[in-house]
């Protein structure tokens, strides 16, 4: 591992202070410095700085933040929406940021709103973040009190209001168009594309930028230290540092901010000060590299660098050889004793339960996958079930390759197929062993059917 010091960009306060969420600590540790500097620049200069940094969006898709901004349709009314609806299993980085450093999030939001000249910003937070909602609202109030929000911010002539909006408990509202529907007061269901980008037609039909919480948290540092300083970290397209949420069978499950690309999965899972190795000294069986919807990796992938393209263009396990994704940066480690069939079922069930129900393949397909997986897990699988699984997955994500082709409106449906196809491809013998393994004469449990009256 390299010896040069890598700065903590988004977790500097969180890792150093117990009271990192307070406005006092924030102001005492350079709070609003980035904002003041941004306001002394033109919006175009701020955008250019972010473009220089090559900051990739931290929500999952990994699109260049500055590029996204530049795609915004020119219109008098523009909105900035912060996506804090982090609800995927094993993803908890935004959770930490909103609770640990809410003022940083608010500062980054104001900088971004200034850069795109938004008239109004919304911070949409997962409804279950009770403490986070309180702290972000406090941070917004504190920003108003300190002149960082409202009319004529810091005498710059720029004005902005931020509304903090809690979600109502739906994973799908993390999909940006579903989030916008929810924000408009409607049922959270993804919009059809085209129009492809909210930057062209978003909230209330106006051009809207939707950015992730962590993306915003990077802004104060980038403006204070310059985009070039950020771009000097990492390599290739993946610059700067990034928080990885490490969980599963490791000794030290936690969020870690590490330099991109210069760190590998092996570093993250095994290094002291990071994951610290597999719990109980066991062997690694497989791991999820980037959130519940990412195709799995095996031990052969450990030395891949933590970089967008490095993971995306690697040699993955799915048919067609497509790689996987860093996604939301959550890594789930499974040791040698893991029941991968059950693990795949639990993930598939999550997606079935969180399907919004808008389009047929996802609404019907994910719940069917859930039912078939459940009977296999219970030992009541039938001959042909594995073929059936593959075919239903193929109907939701045609070709079963990664990145997925879709018959659905959004990525939720194909996401359900990924863990199943990963497990089935990597460990077919475990599935085959499981099918029909229940003792003769035992009865299958009543299937879980949603919507039973």
């Amino acid at each position: 591992m390299e010896t040069r010091t890598v700065p903590r960009i988004v977790t500097s306060r969180i890792t150093a202070y117990d009271d990192s969420h307070t406005i006092e600590r924030f102001l005492a540790t350079g709070g609003y410095d980035g904002l003041r500097k941004a306001l002394s620049m033109t919006p175009e200069q701020v955008q250019a700085e972010v473009l220089t940094s090559n900051l990739l969006g931290r929500g999952g898709a990994g699109f260049e933040a500055g590029k996204k901004w530049s795609m915004m349709r020119k219109a008098p009314t523009r909105y900035l929406v912060i996506n804090g609806d982090e609800s995927e299993p094993a993803t908890f980085k935004d959770h930490m940021l909103v609770e640990g450093d809410p003022n940083q999030l608010v500062e980054g939001t104001i900088i971004s709103a200034y850069a795109i000249q938004a008239c109004q910003a919304f911070i949409y937070l997962r409804g279950e973040f009770a403490l986070g909602l309180e702290r972000v609202q406090q941070a917004v109030n504190d920003a108003y009190r300190n002149g960082a929000l409202g009319e004529d911010i810091f005498g710059s002539g720029f004005s902005l209001d931020i509304v903090v909006q809690p979600g109502a408990g739906a994973y799908i509202c993390g999909e940006e168009t579903a989030l916008l529907e929810s924000l408009e007061g409607r049922r959270g269901m993804p919009r059809i594309k085209p129009p492809y980008f909210p930057a062209a037609m978003g909230l209330y039909g106006e051009p809207t930028i939707v950015n992730n919480v962590e993306t915003m948290a990077n802004m104060p540092w980038i403006i204070s230290n310059g985009g070039a300083a950020f771009a000097a970290l990492g390599a290739g397209r993946s610059t700067g540092t990034r928080i990885f949420a490490l969980s599963g069978h490791v000794n030290n499950p936690a969020n870690y901010e590490v330099e991109m690309v210069k760190t590998t999965f092996r570093n993250l899972i095994y290094d002291e000060g990071l994951g610290g190795g597999i719990r109980g000294g066991k062997e690694l069986k497989c791991f999820v590299p980037g959130g519940a919807s990412a195709p799995w990796f095996g031990p052969q992938h450990l030395d891949l660098p933590l970089g967008q393209d490095e993971v995306g263009k690697s040699n993955g396990v799915l048919p067609g050889g497509g790689g996987s994704m860093l996604g939301s940066g959550s890594i789930v480690v499974m040791d040698q004793d893991t029941d991968v069939v059950r693990a795949a079922w639990r993930l598939a069930r999550f997606f079935a339960r969180e399907s919004c129900g808008k389009c047929t393949p996802c609404r019907e397909g994910t719940s069917w996958l859930d039912k078939v997986m459940k009977r296999i897990v219970d030992g009541h699988g039938r001959p042909g079930d594995l073929e059936l699984l593959r075919d239903v997955c193929d109907n939701i994500a045609p070709g079963l390759a990664f990145p997925y082709a879709m018959t659905t409106i959004c990525f939720l449906g194909p996401s359900a197929a990924m863990p199943i196809m990963s497990a089935l491809t990597m460990f077919p013998e475990e599935f085959e062993r499981r099918v029909g393994s229940a003792p003769a004469g035992s009865l299958p449990g009543k299937p879980e059917t949603a919507g039973v009256v």
């Binding site: 739906a170 079935a352 919004c356 129900g357 069917w368 009977r375 059936l388 879709m406 059917t449 919507g451």
Partner: protein, 884 residues
Amino acid sequence: MPTKPTVETFTITVDGREVEAEKGEMIIAAAERGGTYIPRFCWHPRMKPVGMCRMCVVDVKGPRGWGLVPACYVPVGPNMEVNTQSPRVKKAQDGILELLLINHPLDCPVCDKGGECPLQDHTLAFGPGETRMAEEKRHFEKPIPISDLVLLDRERCIMCARCTRFADEVAGDPFIQIIDRGNGSQINVFPDEPFASYFSGNTVQICPVGALTASPYRFKARPWDLDQVESTCTVCAVGCRVALQSSSNRLTRMLGLDSEPVNHGWLCDKGRFSIDAVNSENRLSTPLVRRDGELVEASWGEALDAAAAGLRAARDLHGPSTLAVLGGARLADEDAYAWAKLAKGVLGTDNVDCQMGDGLPAEVVLGLPRATIEDATWADTVILLAPDLKEELPVLHLRLREAARDHGVAIIELSSRATGLTVDAKASLRHQPGWAPAVMAALLAEGDPTESVAGVAPEALQRARRLLAPDRSVVVVLGRGSLAESAEPTVQAALALHRARPSATFLPALRRGNVNGALELGLAPGLLPGATSLADGATRFAEAWGSVPGARGLDTTAALAEAADGRLHGLVLLGADPLTDHPDRWLARRGLSGAGFVVAVDAFRTPSVEQADVVLPVAIWGERPGTTTNIEGRVTRLGQKVVPPGVAWADWMVASELAFALDADLGLESLAGIATEIERLAPSRAGLTPARIDDRAARDGLVVPLATADAPPVPGEIEANDDPGVAAVQGHVETGAPAGVGPDTGGEPGGPVAAPSSAPAPARVRPPAPSPAAGVKTDAYKLRLVSSRTLYDAGTIVQESGALAKLAATPALHVHPSDINRFSLGDGGLVRVTSSRSVATLTVMADPTLPRGACWLAFNLGSPGAADLIDANEPITDLAVESA
């Protein structure tokens, strides 16, 4: 400025075939026009795409090769290549159908949709042969009523959201929603808030499975047992095109047909479900003659002889001007012509009126330049000087709602009460009842108003004035906003606008099925068929008919007043029920009892029929062919699907036979013969031959007068209305109005009609001159009554249609909350109201949409009702109120 967009077209390739596609069109629509059907469930051509079912995925060649895209929301592009048959498409469609079927119950044998079910059809055409689903299917309680008319079976639902989108986008009644999520998603209503929409039946029609069923049709028939004919709904005057279906000589179901210029496939529930009235047990099936004070069954011969004898005696003793023929707005065009010929040519009376004192003067309706529905939906500004269209002409309401939302048409509403379109109106001018002319004058005056006019704030007037800038096209929807005031304020407001703005066109909001056809074909005082005035048409019709009345006769109100005074000796009611429909029941009652001899030609035993001396039973819609004419003057074919009950005849046959009994011969022996005679004699119908209207190209009907007699107009296009002010005036009639009033179109009234050579040039009716009208000052100690109709009422059609009968509301007197306080009434309490006619006790309901000092009472919700309080001879109706 909302103009109907001109369409740019380009070529795309669908399965190797070149298809002409329109810019902005979705692949699915372009392919279908080109002959390639792409399977779909959620897509509906009259609603925005939603992309939920995914059945319509097709292969499209893009910059990165072929890819699956949904055809329902991806618009066509130039040179686009589409493959609907690739193995990948087949696999995807197979997969989607399997997924739709895994939880769909196999209750097709008892499902109303079985046999006409898109899911069934698509499964046969595109789907897998068997299921691989081994688990228990999704279960819901089935079915649950979501309104009085619609039941929902959530197990059958495939979540296409057609119903919720219709309710929200089209009807504006978003009472049904998707609730829960994922596999448990279901359509449902909010607790205690039923899907009480006037348009709920459309959701049943567009449901692609049997999830939504209508209680009147449920389990009544199988689709393959139904016979079908195209027709036009005549329950109101919009003229929606329908498919009329029957089984075993009973009308079983009515479905909306997608007529581009008229109804876009939609129907209101009153129209859709009123077929039960045709099937009713209470239909008149045999002639009746009064003997010893009782109506007893008689043969046609006896009844016609009795009718002829009574009418002849009255005419011979007292003269033809003591006869009157009232009603006829429910007749087909041919019936109306036959009765006009009988009344004016044989009986010799001009006391003929198809309106019941609740409409507008015929000269105003026929004389003002006419607009089509399409004109209104693409105008810059639409002025509503009319009753609540949602209650009286529901599908016109839908069209204007769409126009306001999707075309940006600005609506100005002049009314004394909120209507269904108030939320979509750019300016709602809520004025004191009876003051419409003053408000109109303020809109047309020079300079911005600075003071309130009849309760309308100057800001609202200014806002409306801006929407009437000279460069904006204006269409007026014109009807009687309130039956508690005379027609005069409405007429004067309309005439003032016409004089100030000759280019403005008018769409009459008259309600009864064929009132427009009846007026045009001469069932109005002072008029002859073809929108011809008595003076102008006298020579021509005297020649054809033998004679015509010498002087203008009485309208319904005046005729009833004559009868009440004992000066009317013979009265024919053509499907008319003055006791229910005339605004002044006191007058109607005295008129009917005072009339010497009454012949009722009707299909039901209405209260007025009970007063008749001779009753002649007739066929109604669904039982006789012919044509009908809607608010635009659009003539469409009526279809016959069942035979009338008993010995009932078509109205024209009754006219013809009654003429024989009066020793006259109308010379009318067949519908085609009548139609040919109308075409020959009625100037406004020149060129409208039976062959022309029967032509498939005229499926959406033809607007009269025809643009030219030779070239058939393209259906669905605006007809010769590039300059509405000119085109609509042409071919219309002129009354004895003073010269110089209205647009002067010169001496030769030729018009665009290349009239048959045998016919003289058509004369024209012109609207009367406006006269300065002042509103009547309000009495501070009284409330001024506004009265209008509700869709579901105590009328015959609704009450004879089982499913609708219970939907009529209980009448209540709506009063502004501040007036409730002022008169110490108490919301929900009883109030005693006194008019110059009578006293009534009513329940009070707070209604903040009324102007202060006004109150509203539904006209048609039974007794005591507004008709008991209104004096037709008074300009307005003021009520003294006290807590009862």
